[in-house]
C-alpha cells in the first residue's frame, strides 16, 4: 500500500472515529492532546490480536473490530474506570482488500458511538505477516478508587456478572458452519464474537468492591489469579454459576461441558469480591435491572480453590484455563 494509501485510509475511515474528540487534532499531528479532569487517575490497558491466533481470517471484520474494542473496555470496567479515548494500531497485510478494512472500520464506528469512546490516534503500517491490531484504551477513575485484583479478603462474597461459559461454547458455535445449533448457536457465537463490557456494573458497584478482574482466560484460572495476588482462597458452588439458556441447553445436550464452562476463555464477565455486608446492595442492583450480579461462592482465609459441582461433589478441572499465547 502506498503512503497515499495510508493517508487516504486514515482520512476516509479513521478520522471520523476521532471526530468527537477535539484533542485527536483530526489525526493530523504527532500525538493527541487530551484534557483530563482534576482529581482523577488515568487507567491504561492494551490488547493485541493477531489473525490466525486471536481471530480467524474469515471472521466477520466488523466483529473483530468490536471485540478488540470491547476486551479493552472490559479491562477498564474491571478497574472501575470510565472510558476516555482509544488508540488503534493496524498492521495490514498487503493483500488485504479495502472492503475488509471498510467493514472493520464500520464495526469500530458502531462501538465508538455505543461507548462514546473515540479513536484519538494510532498508527497504520503494512506487514508481510497476518493482520495484527493493537488497541490502547484510556479510562478515568476518581483518584484512589481503582478496583484492583489484590483486594479480596477471607469472608468476601465471590460474584460474577452476566453468564459464564458462553465465550468458550461460543467459540465452538462460531467454528461450526452447519447451523445445527439453531438460535442457541447464533446466540453463543455472538457472545464469543461481541462480548459485553460490564461498564454499568463498574459504574454502579465499583465503590463497593474489594477486588475485581475480568474473566478472559476462564473462570477457574482468573479466580486463581485474584486469589494469588490477594493471598486468599475461594470456594465455588457450581450450581450457582449463572448459565445462559443456550449454555444450559448445550450442557443438557452434551454439546458443551462444565470443563468448558469453568475453564474456557472469552467470557469478559467481571469476577468480583464484595464484603459480606454488600449482599443487600447486590440485591438492590439486581432489582434495578442492571447486568445481573450473581454470588457463586466465597473467598476464604488461606489458599486453594474448592469447587463443588451441581451434584454436590468436589470438582477439579482437567486444565486450568485457555491461553492465546
Amino acid at each position: 500500500m502506498s503512503r497515499r494509501g495510508e493517508f487516504g485510509l486514515i482520512a476516509d475511515l479513521f478520522a471520523p472515529l476521532a471526530s468527537s474528540e477535539p484533542g485527536a487534532l483530526a489525526l493530523t499531528d504527532d500525538a493527541a492532546v487530551l484534557d483530563l479532569p482534576a482529581g482523577y487517575q488515568l487507567v491504561t490497558t492494551v490488547d493485541a490480536i493477531v489473525a490466525g491466533v486471536h481471530f480467524l481470517p474469515d471472521d466477520p471484520p466488523e466483529t473483530i473490530a468490536r471485540k478488540l474494542m470491547r476486551v479493552n473496555l472490559s479491562d477498564l470496567a474491571a478497574m472501575g474506570a470510565k472510558p476516555r479515548a482509544a488508540f488503534l494500531t493496524c498492521a495490514f497485510p498487503k493483500g488485504l482488500d479495502d472492503q475488509w478494512i471498510e467493514a472493520f472500520a464500520s464495526g469500530l464506528a458502531a462501538d465508538v458511538a455505543a461507548f462514546a469512546m473515540p479513536i484519538a490516534g494510532g498508527d497504520t503500517v503494512s506487514t508481510p505477516g497476518p493482520a495484527t491490531f493493537t488497541l490502547t484504551a484510556l479510562g478515568l477513575v476518581p483518584a484512589g478508587t481503582a478496583v484492583l485484583r489484590s483486594g479480596a479478603r477471607g469472608g468476601d462474597l465471590l460474584a460474577v456478572t452476566g453468564t459464564i461459559g458462553d465465550g468458550a461454547l461460543g467459540l465452538l458455535a462460531a467454528r461450526q458452519a452447519d447451523g445445527s445449533g439453531g438460535a442457541h448457536q447464533a446466540f453463543l457465537a455472538d457472545r464469543y464474537r461481541v462480548p459485553q463490557p460490564r461498564l454499568d456494573v463498574a459504574a454502579g458497584l465499583a465503590g463497593h468492591m474489594h477486588a475485581c478482574m475480568d474473566i478472559s482466560d476462564g473462570l477457574v484460572q482468573d479466580l486463581g489469579h485474584v486469589c494469588e495476588v490477594s493471598g486468599v482462597g475461594a470456594t465455588v458452588d457450581m450450581a450457582r454459576v449463572p448459565l445462559s439458556a443456550a449454555a444450559q441447553a448445550w450442557l443438557a445436550e452434551g454439546r458443551g461441558s462444565w470443563e468448558q464452562i469453568m475453564t474456557g476463555g472469552d467470557d469478559y464477565e467481571l469476577l468480583m469480591a464484595f464484603p459480606a455486608s454488600a449482599a443487600h446492595i447486590i440485591a438492590a442492583w439486581n432489582a434495578s435491572g442492571g447486568t445481573p450480579v450473581t454470588v457463586i461462592g466465597t473467598f476464604t482465609e488461606g489458599t486453594g480453590l474448592h469447587l463443588t459441582d451441581p451434584a454436590g461433589q468436589a470438582w477439579t478441572p482437567v486444565r486450568t484455563g485457555f491461553t492465546h499465547f
Copy 2:
C-alpha cells in the same frame, strides 16, 4: 510459547521496566493506574514496527527496542511534552529465541532508565508472522501549551535541531557490511539505529514555538505537512541545512546525495516555526550548549516550498519522502 512462558517473560524481563512506576501495579492487574498532576494535558502517541518492514531481523535487538522507544519520545518532544509512561505490545514469532528477547529487553531497559520512561503495561502475544512491536507513549504538557503542526505563520523562522540526513545515510551505512566507511559509517549507522529524541529542545524552547513536528519521513515531506496544515509556504536555503561531519564526508565522496539528505527518513530531528523575534532566544539556547537549533529558512504567506541548493540554484527533489507503508 506456553502461557507459563508469557508470564515468565513478563516477570523476568518486563516487570523490572515497570518497577519505578507504582501505578504499573507490577504488571499484575488488568490495567495501569497513573497519577496525573492537575493543570496538565495528556499527550499520547503510538508507533508500530514490523520485522522486515521497519527493521531487519538481523538488526541488533537492543537498538530495535531503543529506536521504538525513541521515535515515540520524539513525537512527545514534537508536542513540547514531557515523557510520563509507555505501554509495550510484543507479538513474538514462535521461533524467536530467548536470547533475542533478552537483548531486546536490555535495550529497552537502558532507555527506560535514560529517559525516566517506565513501561507501565502492555500485552504479549504470539504471531505466525514477523516480530511486531507497538509502543504507546504518554506524556504531559501544561494545559494549553502543546505545540501543534498547524501554528506556523508567514514570516516565521524555519529551524531544525541537530543534523539532517544522517538517518537516510545511516540506513545505507547500516546495510553495508563491508565496513569500508570507517568511523563515518559507524556514526551514521548509529544515528539510524538509535535516534536522539530532542526532549531538551522541547523543554527549553517549546514555549517560544509557533509550530513543531518531528522529521520522520524526510525534511521535504514533513515540511510539506507543516505548511499544509498551517496554510503557509516555506523557503529553505540548503546551504544552511546542518550536516554532520560524516554526512559532509559522504556527500563529498559521492556516497550520499542531497536527494537522500533532504527527502530521506529517520532523522527524528525537530522541524520548528519560531516568530522572527525569537532569533535571540535561539542564539542564547545555542550558546547554552543544548542540542543545536539551526535556522534554515522561513515560512511564507501563501503556499509552496521553494528550496535553493548550496550553489544558489532552485532545487526540486525527485521524490518527496521515504515511506514505510
